[in-house]
Symmetry: C3
Subunit: 254 residues, 3 copies
């Protein structure tokens, strides 16, 4: 059964393979499908769970609970329902969720891999930029995504992958826009010293959304944290270079 | 749970917020997603229900019941199952369904907002045009939609919104084509004098599918009906200018 | 209810009409939606079942069972659950599934219509080509499909149909890539002499994926088999010329 019910919300997930468990959390507005090219390799010797978090993909798109705390609460219930203690691999805001989950409930998490994850959003100008982004998403969601999403990928990425990503974003709900505003004030660095779970920041060298300075600064604030840079990749290395991403993940989770 | 079962058909809907209830009915072949950019504003002080009607979106695509009477019967059961008495906001053929529902069961409807709604299809040549349209939809559905759908939007609309609409149409079923032929002979004007529910015709100034003459003629036939014109919009103002559409709806439903 | 559970996998199907039963099996990676333009005609006097087989469309995308034997086992359970004895119409690899089902369980199948079906894959070079294809699908699934899929259609096919097909392929799972490798060694011809169910090879004249030599060679190996060529069509005649395809199917299944 590919659905589970948490906090009165039906979430879609896929669950395959046996072995050490990997729980994958996609970025803003996409779905568990973003990991798909990495899975056939990993599923050979892992249990692999991909989740569409609240508001995204084939999960429900409720108007409430679209906060860091809301999604993290869903993750607690998901992990308990599946009876797993996974390495949580989160892309972009998905890495933020993974980090918050590990801070709140280290007993549920084996390891965090934060993929091109914000960690914190540099404060300079972000609040105003996000305010403007949210306005434009209301006025012309399709056009705004067409302007913005190509920037998620390293130069030279094929148009097909960009278009497929935009389509996923359009098919997800709109209530998740709330998360953007909350993220502008997100600052975990003081709390990262208390992180009781190993964390690796896996980051695309050419990420134009979250510069490498962000994971480096977060890693410096976290005992034992590592930074692993993926050459030639932008903000979504698992889609841009699935083979390199999967190999890096195997090294990290070994 | 985002599905309900009516007349042996599973319908997908979303239901959020509290307050006076708005029930949204999309146009031919799209889905409840067409309203999405209007919802974050409205859900703050309304209960908002978006329905994928029979044959569309994530609802079942049955081969039968694809008639005005069939969809209206589904709406009766939907409203009774949800225990609501909503303002029914219908786009294009969705406004026709809302009108017929209000004529048949005024006890279930608080108010009708017919958005660029056919009301009636001018008889000149429509039967022949629709016959030709249906043939072309069989021969080359994707190509026919690519020719036709841009006409739904005011000049200058971005390609992304047009493409997303075509995609939704391709993902819905084909049995709904039957509705086109039925609509060519639809003529409610003699019956509108008996409409016991307030109705507003909210119409895009530049609608090239249903000219403004249609809602004006219908409004003239209906006691107390109003026409509200949205400047600069085409056939789907809720997608072309969600902010202006939502503001107009707030005025109408106040 | 449009889902059934077979072999711990939830499969999506649609089931409409009454009369002699047609079970439609799509090709690699698409879904039951590929048949849609043929259905309004056929459903008038047939029971029509379209199935999204394991890994495709709205069915589950499990990591295992993605083999000829696995899908065929699903078909046995599907047919038994629906209590039908259908004409099985399979496109491309779907025709291979239909053939294997009829060989294994002739009691469940009235007739096979293999539409541009591989039957067997000529051995020259295919193993190497498929090995390369699978690598490219991991490295750049969207780009690889954009290069390949236009070749499925006869020259002159509109871009909208090609794009819609690519989109369906991207939305299906990736574990089904395993089927490609298995197909490279597929050779039914020695066994076709034992086929106890009537079979027709319905094939697009211009199919650039599976040349006409393949169904002709298979038909020569099968007692009573017929070949029916659709002029001007490529690999997916049911999408390229639904009207001609439906007419041919009526002749075959009469």
């Amino acid at each position: 059964m590919p659905f589970l019910e948490v906090n009165e919300t039906r979430l879609h997930y896929e669950d395959a393979g046996t072995g050490p468990t990997l729980l994958f959390l996609h970025g803003w507005g996409t779905s568990g499908r973003v990991w798909q090219s990495c899975l056939p390799d990993l599923v050979r010797d892992h249990r692999v769970v991909t989740l569409d978090w609240r508001g995204c993909g084939r999960s429900d798109h409720p108007a409430d609970g679209n906060t860091i705390a809301g999604v993290t609460a869903d993750l607690v219930q998901t992990i308990e329902a599946l009876r797993i203690k996974p390495t949580v691999v989160g892309s972009s805001i998905g890495g933020l969720f993974a980090t918050e989950l590990a801070l709140a409930r280290p007993d549920l998490v084996e390891r965090v891999v934060a993929v091109d994850s914000p960690g914190y959003w540099p404060s300079t100008g972000m609040l105003e930029k996000v305010h403007d982004l949210r306005k434009r998403l209301v006025d012309d969601r399709a056009g705004t995504l067409e302007d913005w999403v190509p920037n998620w990928f390293a130069p030279g990425t094929g148009r097909g992958l960009v278009d497929w990503t935009i389509r996923q974003l359009l098919d997800s709900g709109v209530y998740i826009d709330e998360l953007f505003t909350e993220c502008t004030t997100y600052e975990p660095r003081r709390r990262l010293k208390d992180l009781a779970v190993p964390i690796t920041y896996l980051h695309g060298e050419l990420d134009a959304e979250i510069p490498l300075e962000v994971p480096r600064s977060c890693a410096a604030a976290t005992p034992g944290a590592r930074v692993h840079v993926l050459a030639g990749c932008g903000h979504v290395p698992h889609q841009e270079n699935p083979r390199a991403f999967t190999a890096a993940l195997r090294t990290i989770a070994a």
